[in-house]
């Protein structure tokens, strides 16, 4: 469903002396926050699992001291179809930090701001003029399926799972078959020094007791028709077509849950001649997810339940895995559970 904007948002940049250097229309991809809000309330039973088409809007949260037009953040509000009050999540101004930094760089280039000068930014919002309906164009309706969650027992899975990474109890629990990680390890080692990856597939479950939604990654489909280098893995339209064919052949009712790819950190460090000590504290060695990595999630797996796994191939330890998911509208590192191997594994 398209988001409605009763107000237009902008970013004001201020120099060290507090003078306003300019106000620029805010640029933000609102979709991750929208997806996260909907999924959050679906998990808690406040929105129907079929509720992909509910009317949604982005509303300013006025600053409590300065008042309108200054904002302390923004709210994503989703109407409920049964006449109940709408559901909403609030997001902070920090969602605009990167855009503000980009503007500051632009202002430095325009000599409005000195290089190295401290700056601050504010989110402001003004009523939007009424939208004029465009003549012609495609007539489209959202026909997205509901959340394909099957009834299942969360306790049963937890009983045969080992946590990996930091588990946040507010995150959707994600269970990973050990075979997925074994296969990712093998592929990563086979492609030493070159990024490789695959598509994560599995199922969503809805706990029959508590009602919460969780994911089980049952298999990975090696990404075919890709081109990999030391610092890049290109997924092509042929990659997705091959994955579709593989998914259909399995006939297990699985869905796409995200993707995995390797970070050949040892090769990156070799190129840069990093010392082993430097590698141990390098931010690229663990829990690193680049803007490019995020872009793949956004383009191919935009739903809030989707996750990504990175295989960290470093010189100072065995291969490790990091998982990333949408938390509060931002892709963040998150914990997961590794299931015990079963005889009937995928």
């Amino acid at each position: 469903m398209t988001l409605a904007f009763p107000c237009r948002f902008a970013i004001a940049i201020y120099g060290e002396d507090g003078a306003c250097l300019g106000v620029v229309a805010a640029r933000r991809d609102w979709e991750p926050a929208h997806e996260w809000t909907r999924f959050y309330f679906q998990r808690r039973g406040r929105l129907s699992l079929d509720g992909n088409g509910s009317a949604s809007s982005v509303i300013p949260l006025w600053d409590r001291t300065l008042g309108e037009p200054y904002c302390r953040g923004y709210r994503i509000q989703i109407e409920t179809p049964d006449g109940m009050p709408p559901v909403a999540s609030d997001f902070p101004n920090t969602h605009f930090r990167e855009f503000a930094a980009e503007l500051a760089s632009r202002f430095v280039a325009q000599r409005k701001l000195r290089a190295g000068e401290l700056y601050s930014y504010a989110l402001v919002a003004y009523p939007a003029p009424p939208e004029v309906a465009k003549a012609g164009g495609l007539s489209v309706t959202n026909a997205s399926p509901g959340l394909p969650a099957r009834d299942a027992s969360l306790a049963d899975l937890l009983a045969r799972a080992t946590p990996s990474g930091v588990i946040d109890i507010d995150d959707m629990p994600v269970f990973v078959s050990p075979r997925v990680l074994d296969e990712a390890s093998e592929l990563t080692r086979a492609e030493q020094g070159t990024e490789t990856g695959g598509i994560l597939i599995g199922t969503l479950g809805r706990d029959t007791m508590a009602g919460d939604v969780f994911a089980e990654i049952t298999a990975q489909i090696p990404a075919e028709h890709t081109s990999g280098s030391q610092v890049k893995l290109t997924f092509t339209p042929q990659t997705w077509a091959a994955a579709d064919a593989a998914l259909r052949l399995r006939k297990r009712g699985e869905i796409y849950l995200g993707y995995w790819h390797s970070h050949p950190v040892r090769a990156w460090c070799k190129t840069r001649a990093c010392t082993l000590e430097a590698q141990k504290t390098c931010h690229l060695a663990k829990d690193f997810f680049s803007p490019d990595d995020e872009a793949v999630m956004r383009a191919a797996f935009p739903r809030a339940y989707s996750v990504a796994i990175v295989a960290n191939d470093t010189a100072f330890t065995d291969l490790t895995f990091s998982m990333f998911g949408n938390r509060e509208g931002i892709t963040q590192p998150r914990g997961f559970y590794v299931l015990e191997e079963t005889i009937h594994g995928a």
């Binding site: 495609l138 959202n142 893995l233 690229l284 803007p291 872009a295 191919a300 935009p302 739903r303």
Partner: protein
């Protein structure tokens, strides 16, 4: 006088890669190209138009019925039938940037 262009509209179903974001199109103009359809649907489906560095992303439309990626220059009326399902599949990099 040349043959008049067809004004028929073709209903279609268009999905993203994940298959969880699907839109029904009631009136894809038969005379338009697949490229024009893809361009408009990227916006309607709120799919990203650019990569992390701001470079334009390329999406190809795959016809489920024909099992092939359609060329952007193909005319909708020639390549598609009523009720066809297309998947928009991007060419995109995971990477260090």
């Amino acid at each position: 006088m040349g043959k008049p262009e067809s004004t028929l509209d073709i209903p279609l179903e268009i999905s993203d890669v994940s298959g969880q974001k699907i839109f029904s199109v009631a009136n894809a103009p038969a005379a338009n190209t697949v490229g024009e359809l893809v361009h408009e649907m990227i916006g309607k489906m709120n799919l990203p138009r650019n990569d992390a560095g701001g470079a334009p992303l390329t999406y190809q439309a795959r016809s489920e019925r024909e099992g092939r990626h359609l060329n952007a220059s193909e005319r909708i009326g020639d390549a598609l039938q009523r009720g066809d399902r297309l998947t928009l599949q991007p060419n995109i990099d995971a990477g260090l940037r």
